[in-house]
């Protein structure tokens, strides 16, 4: 594991208290008993990693918590973080048949968390197999896709090494998820387990040249690309480089690692995706008195999940619809001014409305309009096709055009959820082992 740590900060803990408290033992059993134990359960089918949901829930009902956690881990090694960050409304819980009977869906996420918390507290590590033959895989990027891929490889006896450019593993799980959903410490606890399964980690290593790739090719049989999407996109407006402009992922990473503890005044967030909402909520909790969220389209067009939007409203975030920033410039007494304009849709284009411009005085501007593909690395790869900024890989195997390269997660799917990355990483691991087996035969 990394020698880097995140200091425990009581102020952070207080301001970013968990949105949903964990279930007590009795509440967990009552909720577990409510589950109908559907055959070929829709919740399981809806889960990208196909966790046997009724299977783990019924084990909670009988107080077989170790068995319950094992059932989860068999399908999803990041079952702990997924139980906290998954948008379950559109996944397992959204598929729960109870809703068709006017009942609330089973609280699958909280039950899964209950079993996983028990398991992680026990300190146990899932079993790994003895290797039939040596297969060595380098996983580039230390986020969920690589972690899932590496863990699956270890479970089946292969060797896995994660190469991460940052000081801590976990990718967005550690650096990019709102602290009230998943604490960095909980992400690291989960990765500690994966490390104890025998996955090796190399930190502070950027794989950004042909030479670096060749070195990996020489050392490993396969290379798995779990590199994610890279930096956030620029707004492309004047003044964007000013001090006081900090993109959403930078802001989230900064407060989660203790580098940003306090905000004041007014914050303007640009964009209306889930990350924009995480950043806007964080700004409120860090002390900003006013947080505006600017979006160039209307309420019905936002890409954020409904529950995230509702949450942001409760946190006091103010939404400015159909308004776009056009420039950032210095204001009085060290403040910033964001020039904005109202836009309307004409055909497929957004057209500024004359005389609708005004400047918002603020202390921080937070662009949150999506992550741009990490192209500099991918361009180095031979026979790995990139289309629309995404690595082209077979969704069922993660196979790329180069037989030694596999890929999954955001860099392939363009940016989905942790659970999608886990599913992809796991499938790629199995495909690499099948490929090695075929080569041996």
């Amino acid at each position: 594991m990394s020698t880097a740590t995140i200091p425990d900060d009581p102020q952070l803990r207080e301001r970013f208290g968990e949105l949903k408290p964990p279930l007590t033992a009795q509440a967990a059993v009552i909720e577990a008993n409510r589950c109908l134990n559907c055959f070929d359960a829709p919740c399981t089918a809806a889960c990208p990693t196909h966790i046997d949901v009724p299977g783990f829930i019924k084990r909670i009902a009988t107080d077989n918590l170790r068995g319950s956690a094992m059932r989860i881990l068999d399908a999803n090694i990041l079952g702990g973080s997924c139980s906290r960050v998954c948008p379950v409304d559109v996944l397992c819980e959204g598929a729960c048949v109870m809703q068709r009977q006017n009942h609330k869906p089973i609280q699958i996420a909280l039950l899964q968390r209950y079993a996983m918390d028990f398991f992680h507290a026990s300190g146990e590590v899932p079993a790994t197999a003895a290797a039939a033959r040596s297969v060595r895989v380098a996983c580039i990027g230390g986020g969920p896709a690589s972690l899932a891929c590496a863990a699956e490889l270890r479970r089946r006896g292969a060797q896995a090494t994660i190469v991460e450019r940052r000081a801590l593993p976990g990718g967005l799980n550690t650096y990019g998820v709102a602290e009230y959903k998943l604490r960095a410490a909980d992400s690291l606890r989960e990765i500690e387990m994966i490390s104890r399964m025998g996955v090796s980690f190399r930190y502070g290593v950027s794989v950004d040249s042909a030479a670096a790739l060749e070195a990996l090719e020489a050392e490993f049989d396969f290379i798995f690309l779990g590199v994610g999407l890279g930096a956030m996109q620029q707004l492309g407006i004047p003044g964007e480089g000013a001090a006081g402009v900090m993109n959403a992922l930078e802001l989230i990473a900064a407060y989660k690692t203790g580098h940003l503890r306090e905000l004041h005044g007014t914050v303007v967030v640009v964009g209306a995706g889930n990350t924009a909402i995480d950043a806007a909520n964080a700004a409120r909790r860090l002390g900003a008195s006013t947080v505006y969220l600017l979006y160039r389209r209307g309420e019905g067009d936002i890409s954020a999940f409904d529950f995230e939007y509702e949450h942001a409203k409760q946190e006091g975030v103010q939404f400015l619809w159909r308004r776009q920033p056009v420039a950032v410039r210095p204001g009085e007494r060290g403040h910033l001014l964001v020039d904005t304009v109202q836009v309307q849709q004409v055909g497929s284009a957004l057209v500024p409305i004359p005389n609708s411009d005004y400047a918002i005085a603020c202390d921080l501007v937070v662009p949150a309009i999506g992550q741009s593909p990490l192209t500099h690395l991918i361009q180095e790869l031979r026979h790995v096709e990139v289309r629309d900024g995404r690595i082209v890989a077979d969704p069922t195997t993660g196979r790329t055009g180069n037989p030694r390269y596999f890929a999954a997660g955001d860099c392939v799917n363009g940016g989905r959820e942790v659970v999608d990355a886990v599913a992809g990483g796991k499938r790629a691991a199995l495909a690499m082992l099948a490929s090695a087996e075929a080569a041996h035969a």
Partner: protein
């Protein structure tokens, strides 16, 4: 439907077992809720029609703890178990309080439950004292299955018809009030003792007492519950779990001419619905304990109201109007119509897609509920349906992605003609369905699976009728 306003239900019980009157048929069974006069008076205030006093006899010493329960699926006390003995208070105190209760509540029935050593003198004495205290009737406790039976009382009497008959006869020599004998279910055929009690002259019966039980074992200490300093003892089981057993025994007694007497039904009764079932089999009163121990005396309010409302809806003015109506609906298997045919029908609008009926039918019944509405039904000479595991494997191998855009979410939650996607609504193969009811038992949605009668086109025929000729033909030659 009868005119609901036309009927004014009357729950009054008159001359039960030849002489017990009370305002309603709901009695508290002889048990902890009837331990003292103070408790019984509060119960009468709450609305109970009668109470059978906690068994009076030579005072005992009880142990701690005394109760344990069987919880099920997160629900407390599906079944309940006790190793408490009879009253631990003196005969004098109990009877003094009984006199006080009768003085203050003359309209409510107070029944003295009695258990003494098996001598004629002991029984004569206790009968006289209880009746002098004002008891409206006597209940002979021949049922208690733990502790007292080791001392030759309770079920030790109730399991030997000759003893039961003898003691009943001794009591009848002395008694001026109706004598009820409380029967133990811990016997091969409860009718053996019921008949003995009737021969001994009993005026009525109470059934059933608790069933021998060990409710469970602590998996940390390995000591069964209830734990008395590291050891346990079998107790008496009661509560909702025992109702089906009680109903069967009540039916056995009342359908048997040599056993049948006015019967006070006991066993898992906690609501008016339970009570109505005991009345429909012929009981004249019912007794309740566990449900009161769980929720208090107040449950009687709904028991009385609910029964009245049901009677109003059915047009029954008095208990006698429906008492025993179901008794002759229970028969021996050989008299059932073999040509009666029903099949399962699934209401597509109500189905929520849990598919429990599918797996239950495949693994627990006759493999005739299929998930093939989309792939197309398999009908014909040879039916090769995909097995449940194949369906499950397909789901597990499918690619699922989080719907992150609005468009994806709209597609993922698109609504078809029914609330449930068609491929999850099971189909019943009616030609193969044997009408066993299993699917309708497991279906979590009321009214979703109904069993529909199919005209088999064949006249009714019972097993007895079908085999009558064959039995004669194969009669062994003398």
């Amino acid at each position: 439907m009868p005119d609901a306003k036309a009927v004014q239900p009357d729950l009054t019980v008159r001359q039960f077992a030849g002489g017990i009157d009370c305002p309603n048929p709901f009695w508290l069974a002889s048990a902890p809720p009837t331990n003292t006069g103070e408790m019984i008076m509060r119960a009468f205030d709450a609305g109970w029609g009668g109470a059978v006093w906690k068994t009076i006899g030579e005072p005992v010493t009880n142990v701690s703890s005394r109760y344990s329960a069987t919880d099920w699926n997160g629900q407390r006390m599906m079944g309940f178990n006790n190793i408490e003995l009879i009253s631990d208070r003196s005969v004098e105190v109990n009877l003094a309080e009984m006199a006080e209760v009768k003085r203050r509540y003359p309209r409510n029935a107070v029944i003295a439950s009695l258990m003494v050593a098996s001598t004629r003198e002991a029984w004569h004495e206790i009968v006289e004292r209880a009746e002098d205290a004002g008891a409206d009737g006597l209940e002979l406790n021949f049922g208690c299955p733990h502790g007292m039976s080791e001392r030759g009382m309770g079920s030790a009497v109730g399991q030997v018809p000759e003893y039961a008959e003898m003691i009943t006869a001794w009591v009848k020599e002395k008694a001026r009030t109706p004598v009820l004998v409380k029967l133990t279910p811990n016997i091969t055929d409860i009718r053996a003792v019921a008949r003995a009690a009737k021969r001994g002259g009993a005026d009525g019966l109470s059934a059933i007492n608790t069933i021998n039980s060990i409710t469970g074992i602590d998996l940390d200490t390995f000591v069964p519950r209830p734990n008395v300093d590291g050891k346990s003892s079998h107790g008496g089981y009661c509560g909702p779990a025992v109702k089906p057993i009680a109903l069967n025994m009540v039916q056995q007694i009342l359908a048997d001419g040599e056993s049948a007497l006015p019967l006070s039904g006991i066993g898992g009764i906690g609501s008016w619905r339970d009570a109505a079932e005991f009345f429909l089999l012929g009981c004249g009163t019912v007794q309740v304990c566990t449900a009161v121990m769980h929720y208090g005396y107040r449950i009687v309010e709904d028991m009385a109201e609910g029964l009245e409302n049901w009677m109003r809806a059915k047009g029954f003015a008095r208990l006698e109007d429906f008492r025993g109506l179901s008794l002759d609906r229970v028969t021996e298997w050989k008299h059932l119509n073999l040509n009666f045919k029903i099949v399962a029908h699934i209401d597509e609008q109500k189905c929520i897609g849990c598919d429990l009926c599918h797996i239950a039918c495949w693994d627990g019944a006759h493999q005739c509920i299929h998930l093939d509405r989309v792939t197309g039904p398999v009908d014909g000479h040879v039916e090769l349906h995909p097995m449940p595991i194949e369906k499950e494997m397909r789901s597990r191998a499918s690619l699922a992605e989080t719907p992150v855009t609005r468009k994806e979410r709209a597609a993922a939650f698109a609504q078809g003609p029914y609330p449930t996607p068609l491929d999850r609504i099971p189909r019943v193969d009616e030609t193969e369905c044997v009408g066993c009811n299993l699917c309708s038992c497991v279906c979590p949605v009321d009214g979703c699976i109904t069993m529909v009668r199919v005209d088999s086109g064949v006249p009714a025929e019972t097993w007895e009728e079908r085999t009558r000729g064959a039995a004669c033909a194969t009669q062994p030659q003398p």
